[in-house]
Amino acid sequence: MKMVIAIIKPFKLDEVREALAEVGVTGMTVCEVKGFGRQKGHTELYRGAEYVVDFVPKVRLEVALQATQVDQAVEAISRAAGTGKIGDGKIFVMNLEHVVRIRTGETDRDAL
């Protein structure tokens, strides 16, 4: 199994969720984060003074899935989250050794 972590633009969340659902992934965990990267935040006005805000609000998705689903999922996220503009985000894939569904005690494949 793999853990796919995606950092995306907040307003793309709904589209990404739907795209993932289409490739059969329905569970995920989402967290609001701040991103630092090439994309700089907006210029903030403060009573006539301007400041560059150096962080950008992003959303972090954590999706556990079977190894065989990874390519499709990465593809789906890429498609749905992409705007072609800087700051679209990144996808990270890590190895996932073990999964348990708390309610039933099912493990691994069955727990997803």
Partner: protein, 436 residues
């Protein structure tokens, strides 16, 4: 010129002026309005100004601002009761040009039946004035926000209110030398806004800038809080300016009108300047312009007409906007919440414009006339200039002295570097603003 009364040992004597005569008989209408105005001006500080300022700082310091507003309100109230009212508003005898006397210490001699101006009980007049004495040191908070030690802030506010606010108040409203000269300051251009603005600037310079200023963005942590406070300030300012008529009459009504017009004009002016200059109009901009309009009309609220108020609001928007940029960006002074460019500069501007736009011969921009002692606009303007100059100079010097005295009494007014980074709320008050 609004408050003509010097109170001598419990009996009211007119110092000068035709508008409001002290009368023995209770006027329930005037009293009703002064009760309301007292509530409105307190509302400006709590929660108005507290929210306005509180929203502008970073999350970790929001409670420190609210705490400072509350503590100043409480401590100044007691000082006013104990002696400051007496020093500000009774006759100081031979020294009356400079300071009042001791006849009203602990409000002594004021009963329910003791009348003040316009059939308003004197105790109510004293309480109304108390709310002005409260908000003035509270305005200064903006200069040293996010880095001051609470204990030092408390000592500073006590000393400053006694040594700066009270004498200036006496000079202008309590029968002192500026009132005698015929200075037009309806609701506190010199007494409130110039003193607070200058003190804030001096404090900002003496304490130094916040860590990270001006490189780092210190954006408001909660603009909705600031806007809420701004709305309360606008509403409460009706008590501040229209209440300064000390009566529910045409003067109060006109003061309310010009106050509102100047606020609206200041707000729009700032908004359009920002829009034109930076491409987008911001909420912070429009509310700052509104406060600038309100601060600037304050000394002029009894002198100008609706047309004049348009000019006052317009100038407030333009001048305060430029000064904010000059001080923050060009001079890089961390008067953190812009008290000097908004209130100080607005106070100067408004006091001078009051001397000009009071003239009854300006057509649609005509005002209510000069103070009786001054016969020409030139004379009136020179009085206004003196008022501004004296207040500026006196406040600057004494505030500096008070800061030195405070540091000597309490240790450095500023928290340590780490504490500043961690935030005053946890470090000084062991509390956090939000746990959502």
């Amino acid at each position: 010129m609004k408050r003509l009364s010097t109170l001598v040992l419990g009996c009211l004597v007119l110092a000068a002026g035709p508008v409001h005569a002290a009368t023995a008989a209770l006027d329930t209408g005037n009293t009703a309005w002064m009760l309301t105005s007292t509530a409105l001006v307190l509302f400006m500080t709590l929660p108005g100004l507290a929210l306005f300022y509180g929203g502008l700082v970073r999350t970790r310091n929001v409670l420190s601002i609210l705490m400072q507003c509350f503590a100043i309100t409480a401590v100044v109230s007691l000082m006013w009761l104990i002696g400051l009212y007496s020093l500000a508003f009774t006759s100081g005898g031979a020294w009356n040009a400079l300071l009042g006397g001791g006849g009203r210490i602990l409000f002594s001699g004021m009963g329910r039946a003791t009348m003040g101006p316009n059939g308003v009980p004197e105790v109510l007049f004293a309480m109304y004035q108390m709310t002005f004495a409260i908000i003035t040191p509270a305005l200064i908070i903006g200069g040293y926000a996010e880095r001051v030690r609470f204990s030092s802030m408390l000592v500073f506010s006590v000393l400053w209110t006694a040594l700066v606010y009270t004498p200036v108040c006496h000079w202008v409203w309590g029968g002192g030398f500026l009132q005698q000269k015929g200075l037009l300051d309806y609701a506190g251009g010199t007494v409130v806004h110039i003193t607070a603005g200058v003190a804030s600037l001096v404090a900002a310079l003496t304490l130094g800038a916040r860590k990270g200023f001006p490189r780092q963005s210190m954006a408001p942590h909660n603009m909705t809080m600031t806007v809420t406070g701004a709305g309360m300030l606008w509403v409460g300012w009706f008590g501040f300016n229209a209440g300064s008529a000390l009566a529910a009459d045409g003067a109060a009504s006109m003061a309310l009108a010009v106050t509102h017009i100047s606020a609206a004009t200041g707000a729009l002016t700032w908004m359009f300047l920002e829009w034109w200059r930076f491409g987008k109009p911001s909420v912070l901009g429009i509310v700052t312009g509104m406060v600038a309009g309100l601060g600037t009309i304050t000394p002029a609220a009894g002198s100008v007409g609706p047309g004049g108020a348009l000019l006052v609001g317009l100038s407030a928007g333009v001048v305060c906007f430029l000064m904010t940029q000059l001080i923050k960006r060009v001079w890089a002074i961390d008067d953190s919440l812009d008290v000097f460019p908004v209130h100080g500069v607005g106070g100067v501007l408004g006091t001078l414009m009051a001397g000009l736009l009071c003239s009854p011969s300006l057509g649609v921009f005509s005002g209510m006339g000069m103070a009786s002692q001054n016969h020409s606009i030139v004379e009136q303007l020179s009085v206004q200039l003196q008022g501004v100059g004296v207040t500026l100079a006196y406040t600057a010097v004494i505030t500096w002295v008070v800061i030195k005295a405070t540091s000597w009494l309490t240790g450095p007014m500023r928290v340590q570097g780490d504490q500043e980074t961690e935030g005053l709320d946890l470090v000084l008050h062991e509390e956090r603003g939000y746990d959502l």
